[in-house]
């Protein structure tokens, strides 16, 4: 094994191994925090779900309020950051009728939201039709890094 004693050659080998192991396409983390289906007026705190512990350490749902306005269910969601840097988030509401069937499946858009360090903000959403009886919501980060070396 003469090349072990040869430093430039060893470096070259190490470099090639580094490149082989390095370049991978990493699927972004798309889990977040959210809630199960909530009836208007129901206590929301028992229905929260955490799928992403890292995000849950930086962000928490501080309040969910709902009421009927012009026959339509209006929901206010308060989000509080416990992280010193800005968070690039997206949130989505889903709407269900009284039998638990989803209304307008796949049409509720993810809305972008920038939350500054330690900021609390309230976002609102309105049910698309008067038939909505329950809702659920989900918050996750906007994925940025796709490649890792």
């Amino acid at each position: 094994m003469s090349f072990i004693k040869n430093p430039p050659l060893l470096l070259l080998l190490a470099l090639s191994i580094f490149f082989i192991s390095g370049c991978v396409n990493v699927p972004p983390v798309t889990s977040g925090i959210g809630s199960e289906q909530i009836y208007p007026g129901q206590k929301y705190s028992k229905h929260l779900q955490v799928d992403n512990k890292k995000l849950a350490g930086r962000l928490h749902i501080s309040e969910i309020k709902s009421r009927k306005q012009n026959d339509l269910l209006q929901v206010n969601l308060s989000l509080t950051s416990t992280y010193k840097k800005s968070l690039q988030l997206q949130y989505q509401f889903q709407w269900f009728d009284q039998d638990g069937f989803v209304i307008e499946a796949g049409k509720s858009p993810w809305q972008p939201l920038e939350l500054h360090g330690m900021q609390t903000t309230t976002v609102e959403s309105l049910a698309p039709t008067p038939q909505v009886a329950t809702f659920s919501l989900y918050v996750r980060e906007v994925p940025e890094k796709f490649f890792k070396y």
């Binding site: 470099l15 082989i20 370049c23 012009n70 989505q92 858009p109 993810w110 809305q111 039709t129």
Partner: protein
């Protein structure tokens, strides 16, 4: 021996490097997901503008009183594109009018299809092919009571490291009888792009 090893390692490194090149992969994505491909007006902006404007209109107390026992008839005048980009503003008004219709609060007349409707009615009335007792007559359509119209404006700024775009979308509801503006709202979007260091 040493020469062979040098050649081998160099070619290995080259292979490893070349394997890092882009490979195109086709995937179906989530059409409602936040999209950050570039700074231009995109699907997320369209969805955000449409849902915020619809929510605001449907929540306003004025609309609450307008829609108590009736479904007012609206027509959408075009949204004027005052930005520096080419944006299909009809797509925004389509989204807004679809959402408003689906809420069950409003009805719409479509001014973009007047020529087609006239052609069809003329065919029914004058071609001699349609049973006269069942043909749709002229002059029985219902006129719009309110007009929905708006503007989309943008301010674009950039320097060598950063570019920033600000969109402002304004929508108004005018009572066609009195000419009064019954409701108005605007929504803003800020997008920026910065050069970032790539971390290894």
């Amino acid at each position: 021996m040493n020469k062979f090893l040098v050649t081998a390692s160099v070619s290995l490194a080259l292979i490893a490097l070349s394997s890092c090149t882009n490979k195109s992969v086709v995937r179906y994505g989530d059409a409602t997901e936040v999209e950050t491909t570039n700074i231009n007006f995109g699907s997320t902006d369209l969805q955000k503008v449409a849902s915020q404007m619809t929510d605001s209109l449907l929540l306003s107390p004025v609309v609450g009183t307008l829609t108590v026992n009736t479904r007012p008839i609206l027509f959408v005048e075009s949204i004027k594109n005052k930005t520096s980009e080419h944006i299909d503003t009809e797509s925004i008004t389509d989204s807004i009018s679809t959402k408003l219709l689906r809420s069950g609060k409003f009805r719409f007349v479509d001014m973009g299809r007047v020529a087609a409707v006239r052609e069809q009615l003329e065919f029914q009335q004058n071609s001699g092919m349609v049973d006269a007792s069942k043909a749709m007559a002229f002059g029985q359509q219902v006129g719009a009571q309110y007009m929905l119209y708006g503007n989309l404006a943008s301010i674009v700024k950039s320097n060598k490291d950063k570019s920033d775009v600000y969109y402002k979308f304004t929508l108004r509801l005018m009572d066609l009888k009195s000419g009064l503006i019954e409701w108005a709202d605007e929504t803003e979007i800020r997008k920026s792009k910065e050069k970032e260091f790539v971390s290894w």
